[in-house]
């Protein structure tokens, strides 16, 4: 018995030194369904064990990913936004300097309502005025606290319906993206916000008309079946799976469909990424095969398997570019990231 215990602990201590068979993936809960789907495919088709996929949120994933280069750290992290400069700096401080950035598709954020309600058309401007904490006053020369309670106050063309929106909480990547696309992009171009010193303002109102409803999008869908007046904000795949009880709302005249999101006509969408630790490829030989499978057009392409569970596919040129990035093991650099961020502004 004693020997057994001893052998056991020796085994434990030795573990990190060995090459690893099993890939470890962490990161965004939005990307989680996609990467775990591929992980399962990989586990059942290849000779390697199924990769472990953990849903830690984009930020949490980056923290684990950047914590070091040891075999105990994840090999891949999923992200529903680009890596932040701060995160890349953290990575580099901890010696994780060779990271490939791979974009593999899009995700749409939809606004939906109960299927029984009359259809309604919104614009991103309506959403800004209805949901921002500070909005331009009537004469448009200053900012005031948002007191709109009905949609027709925001835009006289809209019906007199109470503003009531269930959406993701602050911790969520979906909320991040929503704030950025619907609020920030607009307020950056609006003089009123610039004059008030609030360029790129992106705070959502907190007076109870926007109701943060937890990370589980199913809960928001359930609420819409009971609360017929309300709207809900969540990921596209939940709309696709529940079209019997909820219907998506056209934004800027475009329906939230796979085609419209991919062509960027539907305005509220974001890119999905995986970040790969190239220094691990030697010790974790399964990684190369896994990535090749992930980026295969049969998986992420237009007819790919992931589109069945709600991924919005990229065009072929971009898929080829993604594969090339992985093959070349080219690392993302701080300068590149800073440049890309400047372009956005």
């Amino acid at each position: 018995m004693k020997k057994l215990f001893f052998a056991f602990f020796v085994l434990l201590l030795c573990q990190p030194a060995f090459a690893r068979e099993q890939i470890k993936v962490v990161g965004s809960s939005t990307v989680y369904p996609f990467s775990s789907f591929v992980a399962e495919e990989f586990g059942s088709v290849s000779r390697y064990p199924t990769p472990i996929v953990e849903s830690t949120g984009t930020g949490g994933g980056m923290k684990l990913f950047c914590s070091g280069n040891g075999m105990n750290t994840p090999d891949i992290t999923n992200a529903s936004r680009r890596i932040k400069i701060k995160e890349l700096e953290l990575c580099q401080r901890n010696g994780v300097s060779n990271i490939s950035e791979v974009m593999f598709g899009y995700d749409g954020i939809v606004i939906a309502q109960n299927v029984d309600k009359d259809p309604i058309e919104l614009t991103v401007r309506d959403l800004l005025l209805a949901l921002a904490k500070m909005v331009p006053n009537k004469s448009g020369n200053g900012l005031v606290e948002n007191t709109y309670e009905y949609w027709d106050e925001v835009n006289p063309d809209l019906p007199r319906r109470k503003i009531k929106v269930y959406g993701p909480p602050v911790s969520s990547g979906t909320r991040d993206a929503f704030e950025e696309i619907v609020l920030q992009y607009q307020t950056e171009g609006m003089k009123v916000y610039r004059d008030a010193g609030l360029k790129g303002y992106r705070l959502i109102r907190t007076d109870g008309l926007y109701i943060p409803s937890g990370e589980n999008d199913n809960l928001i869908v359930q609420k819409l079946t009971k609360d017929k007046d309300a709207f809900g904000i969540f990921g596209y795949s939940f709309l696709a799976e529940n079209s019997d009880i909820i219907s998506g709302i056209n934004i800027n005249g475009y329906k939230p469909t796979s085609e419209n999101i991919a062509s960027k006509k539907y305005p509220i969408s974001r890119s999905l990424f995986i970040y790969v630790k190239n220094d691990h490829i030697k010790e974790v030989p399964a990684m190369e095969e896994f990535l090749a499978m992930f980026l295969d057009p049969a998986i992420i392409g237009e007819e790919g398997l992931l589109t069945e569970i709600g991924l919005i596919p990229m065009d072929e040129g971009r898929i080829d570019a993604a594969m090339e990035r992985v093959d070349s093991k080219e690392s993302i650099t701080l300068d590149e990231l800073k440049l890309a961020l400047r372009d956005l502004e």
Binding site: S29, S44, V53, E54
Partner: protein, 387 residues
């Protein structure tokens, strides 16, 4: 009446108050029962469809081509009806049984989740053409709902019809083994020391207060402790039953200590004194008399602690056990997930077929908890000695 010296004018009022109290307590019990019944009814109703799973009879041709493009193994019109997870396994089947190559077999195979949901009368997104085809299969009796063995034989899957609870059950068992292997001996020894050996001084009081405090700490803090000590400091592998079990052991320890102490305290002093009178040492008394007599109580407390640990999710999120891990773990140093984590994961899935799986998972947890608690009651009733 007013002549009666014992007449108390407030009596009627007091009786009424007593009656009201009784009524109120009855109401509160009814209220709790109502909630419980509603919850159970709703769960069972949602979970029931998960006991059945759609299967379809189809000609499978094991050709070289099917090995590469598994979809070609079945006739074209069946491609949306047969589960992709089953098709995916064809090359493996052929590897295991090379004799299959070149044969065509009529088999009952797993059907797609949309077909399954259609047959159960739930929401589905099949097209009319596919529905017509399924209706035809129904009249030919080549499609059926049968016992869902898949649910108990498989691990998690992103393909709903292929998802099962087995890896989570094995993960839970392994984690609980680690928890008990650590928490039970340490907990009982601590209780024995504090009750039988320790002097009654400020230091032991200090320990006592701390143990009682530990029992009230939010479980997520134990997860943080597990992360920083076991994973970051000791370098133990993340997401494994070893780390999960150790973390839950910390959480279960105070429960075991407190209940074991209560059990030891209830052993009458006369037993110990009789032992001393016969010239036994402290060790003899504790080992042969006090602990065996207190054992039913200790076991009851431990089982209740175990039941609590089984249902725990919060600390396991932090040490990475809430993850997609479909392979059944073979040892405590392999990545694993646990039952409540599995339920949590399924509850967040967009596919509707997971709704019944989630409910079925909850029922499995409830059954395990009820049987554990029943064991605890049985042990107590059977071996308890009244003094």
């Amino acid at each position: 009446m007013s002549n009666n010296p014992f007449y108390d004018p407030s009596l009627k009022h007091r009786h009424r108050s007593a009656y009201m109290l009784k009524l109120l307590s009855r109401l509160s019990i009814l209220f709790t029962l109502g909630f419980l019944l509603f919850f159970l009814f709703d769960m069972v109703r949602t979970a029931l469809p998960a006991t059945w799973q759609a299967y379809v009879q189809v000609e499978v041709s094991y050709s070289e081509r099917a090995k590469k493009f598994t979809r070609t193994a079945v006739p074209k019109e069946y491609r949306k009806v047969v589960s992709r997870a089953w098709l995916r396994n064809i090359p493996r089947q052929m590897e295991e049984d090379p004799g299959l190559l070149g044969t065509t077999q009529l088999l009952w195979v797993l059907a797609d989740d949309q077909v399954d949901q259609y047959l159960k009368g739930h929401y589905h997104n099949l097209k009319e053409k596919e529905i017509a085809f399924i209706e035809r299969l129904k009249t030919e009796n080549t499609i059926k709902l049968d016992w869902n063995g898949v649910f108990f034989n498989n691990g998690d899957s992103k393909i709903p019809e292929y998802a099962g609870i087995r890896s989570a059950i094995v993960g839970s068992v392994l984690t609980m083994l680690v928890t008990m292997a650590i928490a039970f001996p340490i907990g009982v020894m601590t209780a024995v020391y504090l009750e039988e050996f320790a002097k009654d001084n400020a230091f032991t009081h200090f320990i006592e207060v701390n143990i009682n405090n530990l029992a009230a700490i939010p479980s997520i803090l134990f997860g943080l402790l597990g992360l920083s000590v076991f994973i970051n400091l000791f370098g133990l592998p993340r997401s494994t039953p070893l780390v999960g079990g150790m973390t839950l052991a910390l959480m279960t320890l105070p429960i075991i200590i407190v209940s074991a102490r209560a059990a030891l305290r209830s052993v009458p002093a006369s037993i110990r004194q009789a032992g001393y009178g016969l010239g036994l040492t402290k060790l003899d008394i504790v080992k042969d008399h006090v602990v065996p007599i207190a054992m039913p109580g200790i076991l009851t407390g431990s089982i209740i602690g175990l039941a609590q640990a089984i249902g725990e999710t919060a600390p396991l999120i932090i040490i990475g056990m809430i993850a997609f891990i479909p392979d059944t773990p073979q040892s405590i140093v392999e990545a694993a997930t646990v039952l409540p984590a599995q339920v949590f994961t399924w509850a967040g899935m967009p596919e509707r077929a997971y709704v019944e799986k989630t409910a079925a998972g909850i029922i499995v947890i409830l059954v395990i908890l009820i049987s554990l608690n029943a064991t605890a009651i049985y042990l107590r009733k059977k071996y308890e000695t009244k003094w």
